[in-house]
């Protein structure tokens, strides 16, 4: 069928296959999606250092189907980006999709979920983190008082060692008891 465009080198594909939960086809599909987001900046071929150097800004990233309706879309991009601003290069994008795919193990999902909910990055989910999260989740329709009430309730339910915030262990405990994980 003519000249087939080589998007990645074999070595790159092997590496990606080993480092994510994706198969070859899925990686190529991810590259296509990445390109669709910003066709001008993302090249068709990424055989060199493009996977690490080419970054797509966050406001374009959250237009993809999976993240568009997600209230945590921006936060997810921030978690996976290196600088915390949300601009992802291809490798980070691939990582994002891999963690949210079906084949990813539950533990890694829980780990990243914790990072997503930890808005101030202090390795704990505190009252402020919860309030921001709930506000995003319910589109700011709860009153301030109700927000505080709900955050208090969550901490009350999940906090075991009594320090007023949720550590990773406690968060994991809650999620693993939940009937279904995202």
């Amino acid at each position: 069928m003519g000249n087939k465009l080589v998007v990645f080198t074999e070595e790159q594909l092997e590496d990606y296959q080993d480092c994510t939960f994706f198969t070859r086809k899925e990686i190529l599909r991810a590259q296509k999606r990445f390109r669709e987001v910003s066709p001008s900046t993302v090249p068709k071929q990424m055989t060199g250092v493009e996977p690490t150097t080419v970054r797509v800004p966050v406001h374009k990233l959250i237009t993809i189907a999976e993240l568009r309706e997600n209230p945590f879309g921006q936060r997810i991009c921030q978690v996976f980006s290196e600088d915390g601003q949300g601009n992802l290069n291809f490798e980070e994008f691939l990582e994002l999709l891999s963690v949210f795919s079906e084949q990813a193990s539950r533990d890694i999902k829980v780990f990243y979920a914790f990072k997503i909910y930890d808005f101030d990055n202090d390795q704990y989910i505190g009252m402020s983190d919860l309030e921001i999260g709930i506000r995003l989740l319910t589109r700011s329709e709860l009153s301030v008082q109700e927000l505080t009430q709900v955050s208090e309730k969550v901490i009350e339910e999940a906090d075991v060692d009594g320090d007023g915030k949720l550590s990773f262990m406690e968060f994991e405990h809650v999620i693993l008891r939940a009937p279904d994980s995202s």
Binding site: D15, Q17, D18, C19, T20, T23, R24, E26, T52, A65, E66, R68, E69, N70, P71, Q78, V79, E82, D83, G84, Q85, E91, E92, S98, F100, Q103, A104, S105, D107, I108, F111, F114, L130, I134, L137, T138, R139, E141, L142, E146, Q149, V150, K153, V154, E157, V160, D161, G162, D163, F168, M169, F171, E172, V174, I175, R177, A178, P179, D180, S182
Partner: protein
């Protein structure tokens, strides 16, 4: 804010040999601890903690730095990963776990990530197998992609890792196998049933509603499996002789010179129903719908199965035994499948009971459905979460006002009592209507007379169900109980109608028949009552499904159409998950009831489930507005799985009764001429080899039986005690955790105070030395 630096310029992975902080005694203590603690210890324990002497300088500058060095503060994400997968490896290779500090020269979220539990390369990875496993585990390590690549490179280029000869071959083989698996996985979605529909549904409504469709798929698989189970029986068991002309049958009858012999009865039956009497004009469609005529004479119904031995390739195949065995296997396998699914629910409920209900946390952390891609549904989902939160808060509020709630209760009680009485009355009425319809006949069209009762039952189910939905709103149940109560009532309604129907059938067929009669002389029972029962159930199933399809397309669709244009709130309809689940469970219940009398009923169910999937999908997407409730998929499907289990148990009752006590009909089926099916079982049992029968009799001999039951009871008692103790242990550990947390906080405070004190002293000393 002081930027925390990783402890000095240590190499990427370090091994601490000199355990200066450890004494021999402590080590011994560690070794003598229990297994569980040791496992936890080996995971979390580090031979030396960061914060050694050289860091005290840093600490002096910033006491808060201390908090960041706590072991529990380091990201234990990787730790929990490894714990799940590697407890075996721990015991196997005795891998020493160390920490690898990865310094990221960036600001923000990833300033300090410590990835624990990377294996020490020089020790254990001499063989390629463990290297392979380690590489495979990279995927699950939550570190940045570039680090993962570095890690992989390191693992592959480690000094002791050389691929030669056989090892090279093994390595290549593993890679190939991996490729095959990936390829298989890629193509899996192509041949899996409904994969595309399910994923598009999930994108539209989220996983809660799509759990209904997965349940449909599961039921379909179970039924399809049953068809395979029944197939050998069909292949070998249906009498080919019936295809021959009538004359042969009458010849056989004449041979015996006895009008009530089995052959004569069979011939009479065939004459009356197959070579139909001219006043009943049974063409194909009518025959299909009523189950009479041509359909009755296929393997679909009980009637055509021969009795006794049939010639098969490997010898004689006893059709009667085969029939019984295949039915028994069906029930056994269904039991196992349902039980497997129900145990998940039970475990979850127990965990909920022990650990307390995580109402709010589940909502906040698990409420958002990451599959949702549709804009409107996403907004509705957010609204749903909001509504649910509000209701939870209201519930809290109303519960906290203790005595005020009691007043409320007193006010609500009479209303609820009244409504319950109405519900009961409705149930009784619907049962009565069913019995009425049974006695009315419509002579003008055969379809009408055949279908009057099943259609009535189906209609009643839906109309009264609808009434139940509406009246529950008056009762002032809280948000969460409304649906549960309505679902329960609808279920009871359907069961009631079915029970009434079954009883009426039974009373109709329960005329005493002498052993030698073809059919009871006293009342007009059909010659082949099992096929008759099968036909009734067949009609019930078809009428229910037809009604569903009709209502979806001709009632709900116009209604939703009007709603979209007129926006009248009374026309609004939500996709009531429990109603649809109930439909499926009811269908399957009918399948369970009917399988003994119509062995290929599961085939029909397969077909109908297939159709229903698309009908319900249509209803979900076009007829109904997105739900205002947060549906938890697992919880819904688990709940209805247990209801399915209940229905399964209930369906066993009529079948067992009919096997044990009711005389099989003399003119048809694999049991003709027997006093009861149980007699066949007894006869077969006596024909079994002696060693089996004697061992069974021995086992059920009183002393042995008593012994076995005592042992079982003891085992039960023991496990009960274990579970009670575990529960207590959990409480104790929880308290201990809380205390530890408080200890930690106390110590941290003291330490910072101490450091501050030291700082002040130093400053004072310096100030004095200057002066």
């Amino acid at each position: 804010m002081a930027r925390v630096k990783s402890p000095k310029q240590r190499p990427a992975y370090f091994r601490i040999r000199n355990s200066a902080n450890m004494s021999g005694g402590e080590r011994k203590k560690r070794i003598t601890q229990e297994q569980a603690w040791e496992e936890a210890g080996s995971e979390f324990y580090q031979e030396s903690y960061p914060g050694a002497l050289e860091d005290l300088e840093v600490l002096k500058r910033d006491p808060n730095h201390l908090k960041t060095l706590l072991p529990s503060k380091q990201n234990r994400g990787a730790a929990t990963n490894r714990r799940v997968h590697e407890t075996k490896a721990t015991m196997k290779c005795k891998t020493r776990y160390q920490t690898m500090t990865v310094r990221k020269g960036t600001t923000g979220a990833n300033a300090e990530i410590q990835v624990s539990l990377l294996p020490d390369l020089s020790e254990n990875l001499a063989n390629e197998e463990s290297t392979w496993e380690e590489i495979m585990k990279i995927k699950a390590t939550p570190i940045h992609m570039s680090q993962k690549k570095e890690l992989k490179l390191k693992l592959q280029s480690a000094e002791t890792f050389r691929l030669q000869g056989l090892k090279q071959f093994k390595w290549q083989r593993r890679k190939l196998w991996q490729k095959c698996k990936a390829h298989f996985r890629e193509n899996q979605s192509k041949w899996r049933l409904w994969e595309g529909s399910l994923s598009s549904l999930e994108a539209y409504t989220g996983t809660g509603v799509s759990s209904l469709f997965r349940f449909t798929k599961w039921l379909l698989c179970v039924n399809m499996f049953t068809v395979l189970l029944m197939y050998p029986n069909y292949l070998l068991g249906t009498k080919k002789q019936y295809n021959s002309s009538q004359q042969v049958m009458w010849d056989l009858c004449d041979d015996h010179n006895d009008t009530t012999s089995i052959e004569c009865c069979a011939a009479t039956y065939e004459n009356s129903s197959r070579w139909a009497s001219p006043e009943i004009d049974l063409d194909t469609a009518v025959g299909l719908l009523t189950g009479a005529g041509w359909l009755e004479w296929t393997a679909f119904f009980y009637g055509t199965y021969a009795r006794g031995n049939m010639k098969a390739i490997l010898g004689d195949y006893n059709v009667s035994i085969g029939y019984l065995v295949s039915n028994f296997l069906f029930f056994l396998i269904t039991f196992i499948l349902i039980c497997k699914n129900v145990t998940k629910t039970v475990r979850h409920k127990i965990m909920e009971r022990e650990n307390g209900n995580y109402l709010y946390s589940n909502l906040i952390f698990g409420g958002w459905d990451y599959c949702l891609q549709n804009e409107i549904n996403a907004k509705m989902r957010q609204k749903a979460i909001f509504t649910q939160l509000k209701h939870l808060l209201d519930l809290e509020l109303s519960q906290s006002r203790g005595h005020r709630d009691k007043d409320n209760n007193l006010r609500v009680m009479p209303i609820r009592l009244f409504i319950n009485v109405i519900v009961l009355a409705l149930l009784v009425t619907s049962g009565y209507i069913v019995t009425l319809m049974l006695h009315v006949t419509y002579p003008w069209h055969i379809l009408l007379s055949e279908y009057s009762v099943p259609l009535t039952i189906a209609l009643l189910n839906r109309i009264v169900g609808f009434i139940f939905e509406k009246i529950t709103l008056i009762e002032n149940y809280n948000y969460f109980n409304v649906l549960r109560v309505t679902a329960l009532r609808c279920l009871i309604l359907r069961l009631t109608n079915l029970t009434v129907f079954m009883f009426s059938l039974y009373s109709r067929l329960n005329c005493p028949r002498k052993y030698n009669e073809c059919a009871s002389a006293a009342c007009n029972t059909p010659l082949c009552w099992e096929s008759y029962v099968g036909q009734q159930i067949y009609k019930l199933i078809i009428s229910d499904v037809l009604l569903q399809v009709f209502l979806t397309f001709f009632l709900h669709f116009p209604r939703s159409f009007l709603y979209k244009h007129l926006h009248c709130s009374s026309l609004r309809q939500e996709f009531l998950l429990f109603q649809h689940y109930l439909d499926l469970v009811y269908l399957q219940l009918l399948g369970f009831l009917g399988i003994f009398y119509a062995p290929f009923l599961p085939l029909l169910l397969c077909l109908l489930l297939f159709i229903l999937f698309y009908v319900k999908k249509f209803a979900c997407i076009y007829n109904c507005v997105p739900p205002l409730r947060v549906h938890y998929g697992f919880r819904c499907s688990a709940h209805f799985m247990s209801i399915l289990f209940l229905c399964y148990v209930l369906s066993l009752l009529p079948i067992t009764y009919s096997i044990l006590y009711i005389m099989p009909s003399r003119s048809c089926g694999p049991f003709k001429g027997l006093l009861s099916v149980a007699h066949l079982i007894k006869d077969t049992y006596t024909q079994l080899p002696v060693w089996i029968t004697s061992s069974i009799t021995h086992m059920f001999n009183t002393p042995y039986f008593l012994l076995i039951s005592i042992i079982l009871l003891l085992v039960l008692y023991y496990y009960h005690n274990v579970s009670v103790t575990n529960r207590e242990m959990v409480q104790i550990l929880k308290k201990q955790l809380i205390l530890e947390g408080q200890d930690k906080q106390f110590l941290l405070d003291r330490l910072s105070a101490f450091i501050k004190q030291q700082q002040d002293k130093q400053k004072a000393a310096m100030a004095r030395s200057v002066n």
